[in-house]
């Protein structure tokens, strides 16, 4: 009973690799997305252009400005003669922050009085604004502590001793690139599986298949397994690229990763088959896949944390297989999370996979035999 299924799988794989369009779908978008996400998608701030207004010209203020200028995060573009110049630069997006130092800054410091510093940040991109503020605060408190140590004065009662787990340099890339494994696997599996039945419908070969003694379950397996296979291969290639090219640490067990990927690919294959069974043409399948993909990526925690979403949206994400696999991929890569800790992520995907496959089988029956 397995022979016809193997024949189907063989045929499916040959068809995918011999068709120029399918090869294109397998190679080009993943490559472009890996590059774009690996290099362009970053929340890390570098060379943030800032302007400085320092009417104090004292020793302390110059030291403070030097600290900003020496930081890789900031680059001082302009030293201002008036504060209003700063507003204009900010408006024109020439700089993203203006550091305004009080005229009595150095004097206040020597007299152990609180010396005010003002940070004016461009809030048009609120995330960047918050990050800039955070970086500037770190520099300012570092300066303050050094000053206190060097020039005397009462130390603060308590000090923060911040350490970061798993991603000590806080590189966005470590967060984004493992996510790309899930993202690209989803794109490729959805397109390959989603288009396969529609393509056969367009070419007329689907009728041909239906009049053979193949049963619906044979068709389902024959159509689904190639997707699972291609998805796993694609995921493996990107995993290698992530560790070798982007140097993302891999701290967990490979088996824990693959168990997650397998369940994920099965769930997506089920979805792809359902889309495929519903679509009459490749165009419709493409549109259907796109309509599913956009929200599923955005509401997965891929770029923005699910915890920040409103409660009802968070409920929606429980139906999204990508949400689980992202936790698994990042956990295994960066935190070295093991099987037992990931169990709560594995089983929902298994349930989604089961439901989508049953739905696909039902739709296959309904639409065809």
């Amino acid at each position: 009973m397995w022979r016809p299924i193997f024949a189907l799988i063989r045929k499916e794989l040959i068809a995918v690799f011999r068709d120029a369009r399918s090869r294109l779908v397998l190679v080009v978008p993943p490559l472009i997305q890996l590059l774009v996400f690996g290099y362009a998608a970053t929340f890390d701030l570098n060379h943030v252009p800032i302007a400085v207004f320092d009417p104090d010209h004292g020793q302390a203020s110059r030291e403070l400005v030097a600290r900003f200028a020496g930081s890789p995060t900031f680059s001082v573009r302009k030293v201002l003669d008036s504060e209003s110049q700063g507003s204009a630069l900010l408006d024109a997006r020439a700089v993203q922050m203006v550091l305004v130092i009080d005229p009595r800054f150095t004097r206040d410091l020597y007299q152990h009085r609180s010396a005010p510093v003002r940070l004016v940040v461009d809030g048009r991109n609120s995330n960047t604004a918050l990050l800039i503020e955070g970086y500037a605060n770190t520099i300012l408190s570092g300066f303050a502590l050094r000053w206190t140590a060097a020039h005397g004065g009462p130390p603060p009662a308590a000090m923060l001793d911040i350490a970061t787990r798993y991603n000590p340099a806080l590189l966005s890339r470590w967060f984004i690139v493992p996510g790309v494994i899930a993202l690209l696997t989803q794109v490729v599996v959805l397109l390959v599986v989603g288009l396969s039945v529609a393509r056969e419908r367009e070419m007329g070969t689907f009728d041909q298949l239906l009049v053979t003694p193949l049963r619906p379950i044979d068709l389902l397996l024959g159509k689904g397994l190639p997707g699972v296979l291609i998805g796993l291969v694609e995921a493996s290639v990107i995993t290698v690229a992530a560790t070798v090219w982007f140097k993302i640490p891999f701290r967990g067990e490979i088996g824990a990763l693959y168990l997650g990927l397998l369940l994920f690919v099965i769930a997506i294959t089920g979805l792809g088959l359902a889309v495929s069974a519903l679509a009459a043409t490749q165009q419709q399948a493409l549109l259907g896949a796109f309509l599913f993909m956009v929200p599923s990526v955005i509401l997965s925690g891929f770029a923005t944390p699910i915890a920040n979403m409103p409660r009802w949206v968070q409920w929606l994400t429980f139906a999204n297989p990508m949400r689980y696999v992202l936790v698994i991929v990042r956990g295994v890569f960066l935190e070295g999370t093991g099987y037992s800790a990931l169990a709560s992520q594995y089983w929902p995907m298994a349930v989604i996979g089961l439901v989508t496959l049953i739905a696909a089988a039902w739709l296959f029956r309904k639409r065809t035999v």
């Binding site: 022979r3 016809p4 193997f6 024949a7 189907l8 063989r10 045929k11 040959i14 068809a15 011999r18 068709d19 070419m203 007329g204 070969t205 009728d207 041909q208 298949l209 239906l210 009049v211 053979t212 003694p213 193949l214 049963r215 065809t368 035999v369």
Partner: protein
């Protein structure tokens, strides 16, 4: 520009060549075509699919860059000034650019605007065209909801809104029912008579050549001949006969087509039409040996006879002479071994019908695609479902194969309803889908291997069947070619081979010969006949009326209804009239429609 005289040709083609890339291959679509068409005439551009007709049409319309040679339309060099030509010609492409989501009226208005028809003139033009095309009652209908024939008539109407001096029609009659076809021709004839328009009309239907004033015959990008239809048939005058003998017509046809000196043998009614290599019946002794009791009646030659004679001439000149199909026995010997039958007695006399259809009805929403259809097919019969696109034959066909549930009625194929029967029941049937649906990305070998596995063949049997297919269908040379790149004739053979891998008892063929050239079509029917002789039941759909001649029995469908049921001879006999003593099936079809008084096209 001085008004040109009628003596000047409207179209002059001089050594036109055109190549284009198709995947990895460089294809010569046209390999040096020279011809002319006179003003005010209807010129038929005739050849099978892939002959280069559409490429030539597009070159004449200035839609393709001329690569080599010269095209002159109404005295203008198309290569130099395509816009000037386009302003004076009308062109109806094969899939005419009707906007399917616009209504008939909206399409007409759009093309009237695009062709600068002034509003005042427009009303008169509509008043003339709408009755002529019979579109009057349907102006508010979406073009996508029209039947094939109506779409073509609307396309023609849109092209004719601004009466062109030169009209290009690319296969306007493909898939159109005989009634609409007749109407299209009436419009064209009306047009040429009224306004002396020159028409270039391309078609794959050879019988339409006889309606043209002149014919340009092309095959595989080469000019086979040009002239009046009469000139073509005159070349083979005295070489066409109707043969009969004390044999079954299929048997007779098989023997005669293998006999030396006979270029063509096709079934026509109860007899076999042959075309001989030379005039007279000098070799008739040989033929009589092949078919004892042979009697020949001379018959006027048809255009198709001359085309096949020309093609055979080329085939013989280009290739080493083919050995006769099989020197000792009849071609039947090459048929597959008798299928594994379940219980029914061998022999070929139908006792228990293999396919039974009773009161079959299929609705799509309010639309009734198939209405109360009943028929029965016996074992070893070739049964035809005839009708135009949209007549309901494909729907009936799909229901029989279990691809579509019936809304009402009963159907049995080899005792099963394939829709509800176990999957293994489908092992009894072979199915060849429309357009020869193969896996285009797989090679010939991979296709054969896949379909044999899908039919659950394995081990030695699978290898033996693949070897059989390769040998029987002459596929050895193309075994590793990708199916997409195959010539249409090969595709058709491969599709049939795939459908026969598991030696089915029943064979379903959906439009099995559309587009292939007459030689490939003959080859195909030779195989089907052999299969039927060996006891395989064949159900075939076609919109080629002349192909119905191959069927033992057939039904003619229109608008989902059965119009007629019987043998080709009985159906033709029903249309016999004093002024038409020897009607064709097409005549019979039209007569039936007229009699039924139904609006087929609607």
């Amino acid at each position: 520009m001085p008004p040109p005289t009628d003596a000047e040709p409207a179209l002059r083609l001089a050594d036109v060549r055109h190549r284009f890339r198709s995947g990895p291959r460089d294809v010569a679509a046209l390999a040096g075509v020279s011809a002319t068409a006179m003003r005010g005439t209807v010129t038929g551009l005739i050849g099978p699919d892939g002959a280069g007709k559409t490429t030539l049409m597009r070159l004449v319309a200035g839609l393709l860059r001329l690569q080599s040679g010269r095209v002159e339309v109404l005295g203008i060099d198309v290569g130099r000034d395509p816009l000037a030509v386009q302003a004076r010609l009308g062109y109806m492409p094969q899939r005419f650019g009707l906007y399917e989501d616009l209504t008939v009226q909206e399409n007409l208005d759009l093309y009237a605007d695009l062709q600068d028809v002034p509003p005042a003139e427009r009303r008169a033009r509509y008043a003339q065209l709408l009755p002529l095309t019979g579109l009057g009652p349907f102006t508010k209908r979406l073009a996508g909801r029209l039947s094939g024939g109506m779409k073509q008539k609307l396309g023609l109407a849109c092209t004719l809104l601004h009466p062109p001096e030169f009209l290009l029609l690319d296969e306007p009659t493909v898939g159109v029912d005989p009634v609409s076809r007749r109407e299209l021709w009436r419009i064209i004839e009306h047009l040429t008579r009224e306004s002396r328009t020159t028409v270039l009309f391309s078609t794959a239907y050879l019988d339409e050549a006889e309606r043209c004033d002149q014919v340009i015959l092309i095959h595989e990008g080469r000019l086979l001949g040009a002239g009046t239809p009469a000139a073509f048939t005159a070349e083979i005058a005295g070489r066409s006969f109707l043969a009969s003998a004390g044999l079954g017509r299929r048997e007779l046809q098989a023997r005669l087509s293998a006999a030396p000196g006979i270029l063509d043998a096709v079934i026509q009614g109860d007899r076999v039409r042959i075309v001989t290599a030379s005039t007279g019946t000098a070799a008739s002794a040989d033929w009589s040996r092949a078919a004892p009791g042979l009697s020949l009646t001379p018959t006027p030659p048809r255009f198709e006879d001359s085309f096949v004679a020309k093609l055979r001439g080329i085939a013989r000149a280009n290739e080493p002479p083919l050995p006769p199909a099989s020197p000792t026995a009849t071609p039947v010997a090459t048929a597959p071994p008798p299928p594994v039958t379940t219980g029914s007695t061998p022999g070929g006399t139908p006792e228990e019908p293999v396919i039974v259809v009773e009161h079959l009805t299929r609705r799509f929403g309010p639309f009734v695609a198939v209405r109360d259809v009943s028929f029965a097919v016996g074992r070893g019969e070739i049964f035809g479902l005839l009708g135009a696109n949209g007549a309901g034959k494909s729907t009936t066909f799909r229901m029989l194969c279990g691809l579509l549930p019936a809304s009402a009625g009963r159907l049995r194929v080899a005792g099963f309803d394939l829709r509800t029967a176990a999957a293994t029941a489908r092992a009894r049937i072979g199915y060849m889908a429309q357009r020869f649906s193969l896996y285009a990305d797989l090679s010939v070998r991979q296709n054969l291997r896949f379909f044999s596995s899908a039919y659950r063949l394995s081990g030695a049997r699978q290898i033996a069947r693949i070897d059989w297919a390769v040998g029987e269908f002459d596929l050895a040379a193309v075994l590793d070619a990708t199916a997409r790149d195959l010539a249409l004739g090969y595709k058709q053979r491969l599709a049939l081979a795939c459908a026969l891998m598991h030696e089915p008892q029943i064979l379903f063929l959906d439009e099995p010969t559309s587009g292939v050239d007459p030689l490939a079509r003959r080859e195909f029917w030779r195989r089907i006949n052999a299969l039927a002789e060996s006891g395989v039941t064949v159900l075939v759909t076609t919109h080629f009326m002349e192909e119905a001649e191959y069927c033992d029995r057939l039904i003619i469908m229109a608008s989902g209804r059965v119009l007629a049921d019987g043998t080709p001879a009985s159906i033709k006999a029903s249309a016999r009239r004093d002024d038409r003593p020897d009607p064709t099936l097409e005549d019979a079809f039209i007569a039936m429609i007229d009699a039924a008084g139904t609006e087929v096209a609607a």
